[in-house]
Amino acid sequence: MTTAAAIDARDLTRRFAGFTAVDRVTFDVKHGEVFGFLGANGAGKTTAIRMLTGLLSPSSGTATVAGHDVLREAEQVKRDIGYMSQRFSLYEDLTVRENIRLYGGIYDLADRDIRDRTARMLARLGLEHAADSYVRAIPLGWRQKLAFSVALLHQPRVVFLDEPTSGVDPITRRQFWELIYEAAASGTTVLVTTHYMDEAEYCDRISIMVGGRIAALGAPAELKREFQTASIDDLFVRLARKEP
C-alpha cells in the first residue's frame, strides 16, 4: 500500500438538509507529507475531516485514508490514523501516565509496548518528572506536545491535527512544528488545520477551502507565484469569502 497516496479524496461530497457542506472535493496527500488544510470558519473543513476520519459517511464521491475506504472500511481507517484537536485531546483528571495507558489500551497495544513507548515518549519530551501529574496541572504548551505524541502512540500512518497550536506561546508553537516535521521525516503523514497563516507556510502543500470547494491547492511558494500574492495570509483573505 506504499504506492498509493496516504489520503486520496475523489469528488468527496457531503450534503445536509438544504446545503452542500463539502462539494466534490478532490485532493491527495503523499506519504510523509505535511499538508495544511485551510479554510474560513464554515467553509467545510470540519465536515471533510469527519469524513476522512471515518466519522461521517460521504453523500457521494470516495476517499481512501491509509489505503482504506472511508465508507466501507471506516473501522480500519480509525485504527490506522491518529487525531488530535485543540478542543479535546487528553483527559485532564487522569495523570500523564494514565492518559498514555488509556490510549494504548484503546488501540490494543500490548502492556509491554505501552510501557516501552511511554518511557521513550516521556524521555523525548523531557516529561519524566511529570509522569504522575494530572494533565490539568501541566501548562498548555506541554499538554499540546503530549497530546500529539499520544496521538502517535499506536504508530498511525496518518495523523489529523485540528488547530493544534491555538493559543500556545510563540516558542512552544514552533517547538510543536518541529515535532510535526520529525513525525513527517519518519514517514507519518500529517494533515493539519490552523488559523495562524504563518504556519500555512510551514506545510509542504496546502489547500484552501471556500464554500465547500477547494479554491487553491499546491505548495505555498507555488501558490504565491500563481496568485501573485506576498503571503498565504493575503491569498487566504483574497479567496475566502465572507459567509455567515
Partner: protein, 319 residues
C-alpha cells in the same frame, strides 16, 4: 494615584490575583489613554482573561488597584458598569436566541432599545441585519464575534474591554474585526483588547506583552519590534527542517526559528553587522551541502521581540 491620570481611561497599579496556588496576575501596572486602542498580546494562561474580568468589575483583585474612567473597579463598580462595554473571551450570548433577540436583550438590560441605538451600532449591525432571525448558535465564528461586539456597544459605553475577540476566528474575519475596531477608534472610543495572535499587535496604538501574569514590556508595536537587539537574518531554503537543525549547530547561532516561509536566524555576536551575518550563514549552509540558499537581513517583528523577552517557553515552569 494622582490625577495625572486625568487623560487616562485605564490606570492599573500592581494588580495581583491568585487562584489557590496559581498566580494569575503577579503585579500588573499599565495606563491606557482615552481614545487609545490598547492591546494585551500573549499566549493562553498569561492572565489576560483575569485582568479583563477585574477591569470589568467581575473579579476583585487580591492586591493593587485599578481605575477605569476614573472610577475604582471595586469601590465604584456600580457606577462603572453601565459605562463599560465588556466582551468576554468565551462566546457569551444566548445561543437559542436570534441575532435580533440577543441585541434586544442586551439593550433592555441597560434600559435602552435597539431602535434608539441604531445609529451608533449601524456600522456593525448592518453586517448582521440580514441574519436577524438566525439563532446565534448557527452563526459562523466571525459573525458570532461581530454580534458580541454589537451587544457590547448597544448601551453606549465609553470604553470597550474586548477579551480575545478574534481567537479561533479565521484570518478573513479577523481582519474584518480589526477594521471595525479601527472605525470605532476613529469615532473616539477607547478600546482595550487582548489577543494571542502576535501579528495583530500591529493594529494597536500600544501593546503590553503579557506572559504568566507579568508584563514583558509596554510600548508601540514599532518600538517593541525595534527593541530586538541582535542581528537578525531571514533564510530562504527549500529543505527548511534540515536547515533549521543544521543552523542550530552553527558556531554563532543565538536562536533559529521557523518564521513564515523563512527561518529567522539571530546571531550570538550582538554587534556584528548584518551583512557579515548574511555572509556567515550563507557560507555555513553552503558548507553543509545546502543549495539555492538566500539569506538577507530582516526587520524584527513583535513576535521576534516577544520570543526574545519571554526567555523560556511555557513548559519550563511545570512541576
Amino acid at each position: 494615584m494622582t490625577e495625572a491620570a486625568a487623560g487616562s481611561a485605564v490606570v492599573a497599579e500592581a494588580v495581583e490575583k491568585r487562584f489557590g496556588a496559581t498566580v494569575a496576575l503577579a503585579g500588573i501596572s499599565f495606563e491606557a489613554a482615552a481614545g487609545e486602542l490598547f492591546g494585551f498580546v500573549g499566549p493562553d494562561g498569561g492572565g489576560k482573561t483575569t485582568l479583563f474580568r477585574i477591569l470589568a468589575t467581575l473579579l476583585v483583585p487580591d492586591a493593587g488597584r485599578a481605575r477605569v474612567l476614573g472610577l475604582d473597579v471595586v469601590a465604584d463598580m456600580w457606577a462603572l458598569r453601565p459605562r463599560v462595554g465588556y466582551m468576554p473571551g468565551r462566546f457569551s450570548l444566548y445561543p437559542d436566541l436570534s441575532v435580533l433577540e440577543n441585541l434586544r436583550f442586551f439593550a433592555s438590560v441597560f434600559g435602552t432599545t435597539v431602535e434608539r441605538e441604531r445609529a451608533r451600532i449601524a456600522p456593525i449591525y448592518s453586517q448582521l441585519e440580514a441574519f436577524n432571525d438566525r439563532r446565534a448558535a448557527a452563526l459562523s465564528g466571525g459573525m458570532k464575534q461581530k454580534l458580541a461586539l454589537c451587544c457590547a456597544l448597544v448601551h453606549r459605553p465609553e470604553i470597550l474591554l474586548l477579551d480575545e475577540p478574534t481567537t479561533g476566528v479565521d484570518a478573513v474575519s479577523r481582519r474584518e474585526f480589526w477594521d471595525l475596531l479601527a472605525d470605532l477608534k476613529r469615532s473616539g472610543m477607547t478600546i482595550v483588547v487582548s489577543t494571542p495572535y502576535m501579528d495583530e499587535a500591529n493594529r494597536c496604538d500600544r501593546v503590553a506583552l503579557i506572559q504568566r501574569g507579568r508584563l514583558l514590556g509596554t510600548d508601540t508595536p514599532q518600538r517593541i519590534a525595534a527593541s530586538y537587539d541582535r542581528p537578525l537574518v531571514a533564510v530562504h531554503v527549500a529543505d527548511r527542517y534540515r536547515a533549521l537543525l543544521a543552523l542550530r549547530e552553527s558556531p554563532h547561532a543565538h536562536s533559529v526559528y521557523p518564521f513564515g516561509e523563512t527561518l529567522h536566524y539571530a546571531d550570538a555576536r550582538a554587534n556584528l553587522p548584518a551583512d557579515d551575518v548574511v555572509a556567515d550563514v550563507g557560507a555555513f549552509l553552503g558548507s553543509r551541502g545546502f543549495r539555492d540558499v538566500r539569506v538577507e537581513p530582516t526587520a524584527p517583528t513583535v513576535e521576534d521581540a516577544f520570543m526574545a523577552r519571554m526567555g523560556a517557553p511555557d513548559e519550563t515552569k511545570a512541576a
